[in-house]
């Protein structure tokens, strides 16, 4: 049996902090800067501004989704995303053109950690009737996303990070290695293990569906 699902709040999403090139103190020292002071982004040369805009257009959804897959609410994921781009704005000169995605994802993971905010993760527990009831109005697409998040919540967080980056966001092995500061071989092994765990969970769901369908 799969048990039931319950929303469980846990601090920090349970993942090990990803060490990225961003200076952690820069993140921690201004966690509220974005919301309280939108003008916190200093005026900068037009080229930088254009680059940041281009980066935002190209990658903000990826950053936001990566946070969503960690179990953050849409709003919380947006908060982390905007703070990530704030860090990027300050460090544009350090970001190589071909490492923007790695920088952004790594920074977002770091920001999520440094905020220490309560994140919400799905966990299979005893009484999750509420969620099922809430799900009545969701579309098929959203139901699929929720089901995916439920499955991801059953995967070890360190492994799930790699899985999400590769399987959902399409980051390359070097990008993942750079963003998490782990060796390429570790990326590969984590992905393999993540797949096994993810597929086992989804396999259980499939089996249950099939069994009930034939019952």
């Amino acid at each position: 049996m799969l048990g039931r699902l319950r929303l469980v709040e846990s601090r920090g999403g349970g993942a090990a902090p990803a060490v990225v090139r961003s200076r952690p103190e820069a993140v921690r020292s201004r966690p509220e800067a974005v919301r309280s002071r939108p003008e916190a982004v200093p005026s900068r040369p037009e080229a930088d501004r254009a680059r940041l805009e281009r980066m935002f257009v190209a990658h903000h959804a990826m950053v936001w989704r990566t946070m969503r897959r960690r179990g953050l609410s849409p709003d919380a994921a947006a908060d982390v995303t905007q703070q990530t781009f704030l860090v990027a704005a300050e460090r544009l000169a350090d970001i190589a053109a071909d490492s923007e995605r790695a920088f952004l994802v790594g920074t977002a993971l770091r920001v999520a950690q440094s905020l220490g905010r309560k994140t919400v993760r799905w966990q299979l527990e005893e009484d999750m009737d509420q969620h099922v009831a809430d799900g009545r109005s969701v579309s098929e697409e959203r139901a699929a996303v929720q089901l995916c998040d439920m499955a991801l919540a059953k995967v070890d967080p360190d492994l799930a990070e790699v899985f999400v980056m590769f399987e959902i966001e399409g980051l390359s092995s070097p990008e993942i290695a750079a963003s998490l500061e782990i060796p390429l071989g570790t990326v590969a092994s984590r992905l393999r293990r993540a797949r096994e765990q993810f597929r086992m969970v989804v396999g259980r769901i499939e089996v249950t569906m099939r069994r009930e369908g034939h019952a």
């Binding site: 995303t81 704030l86 098929e140 089901l147 399987e167 959902i168 086992m200 249950t208 009930e212």
Partner: protein, 253 residues
């Protein structure tokens, strides 16, 4: 083979995923922040991006995800729509109905997802009012399963009890873990036990694929290859067939 190679394989949703896995991954890759959230982020950053530019770009990403997931890889089986009923099933493991979108063609289960792509971001779901669980059960229609599945051939299908399945999953899970940890002999032992205790098990194809992989890891290439040939012959449509064929170096399929 290149197990210790750091290069990553193809994305699961491109090669080797079951239909359900593919649908979950593709849907997740298409999720977008709402227009309001995107605007809020832009304002906070002091960006003045032309209206629609950000969302258009993300929609393009979403379309790419759709192409990857629902493009050339034809689904072998039409799955029911992932509905509340399926969520309830997954969540509770209880006997609930599943809202089935009757699928006339093999592609029918995937197309609605592809059609769902719009330039507009998907708004986050509003918190719904609490309702009683039984109300979540929709149409109680049996799920139709196609001619072949990754995990089980229908000819073997029987009404496995939850206890059976738990035992099966535990064994296959343990074998997988052993394999992932390099304990190939142990994986083989566990798979042997699986065969003995579940001669008509639901996960036999998966167990067979794991055995092939373990044998290959142990350098028993000839044995792995022979089993892979049998596997491909027995399950030509299974995504696992491609995997074991590739693993053991069988030309083509």
């Amino acid at each position: 083979m290149s197990r210790s190679d750091s290069r990553l394989p193809s994305q699961l949703r491109v090669v080797g995923a079951t239909d359900l896995e593919r649908r979950l991954l593709v849907a997740s890759a298409r999720e977008l922040p709402s227009v309001e959230l995107t605007k809020k982020m832009q304002q906070a950053l002091g960006l003045s991006i032309a209206a629609g530019a950000a969302t258009a770009a993300t929609a393009a990403t979403a379309k790419a995800a759709t192409a990857a997931g629902a493009g050339s890889a034809a689904p072998a089986v039409a799955w029911p729509a992932i509905s509340v009923g399926v969520l309830a099933l997954a969540v509770t493991g209880a006997v609930v109905g599943v809202g089935v979108r009757s699928a006339g063609t093999h592609h029918a289960a995937v197309r609605p997802l592809a059609a769902a792509v719009t330039p507009l971001p998907v708004a986050p779901p509003p918190p719904a009012a609490p309702a009683a669980l039984p109300a979540a059960v929709e149409v109680a229609t049996p799920i139709t399963v196609g001619a072949h599945r990754t995990l089980a051939a229908p000819s073997r299908h029987r009404a496995a009890t939850p206890g059976d399945l738990r035992g099966e999953i535990a064994l296959v899970d343990a074998a997988r873990t052993a394999l992932a940890g390099g304990a190939n002999e142990r994986a083989l032992a566990l798979l042997g036990r699986y065969d003995t205790t579940h001669p008509h098990g639901t996960f036999r194809p998966e167990a067979a694929a794991l055995r092939i992989e373990a044998l290959d890891h142990l350098g028993r290439a000839a044995q792995a290859r022979t089993l892979a040939q049998k596997f491909v012959a027995a399950h030509p449509e299974s995504p696992l067939a491609e995997r074991v064929a590739r693993l053991t170096g069988l030309a083509g399929r």
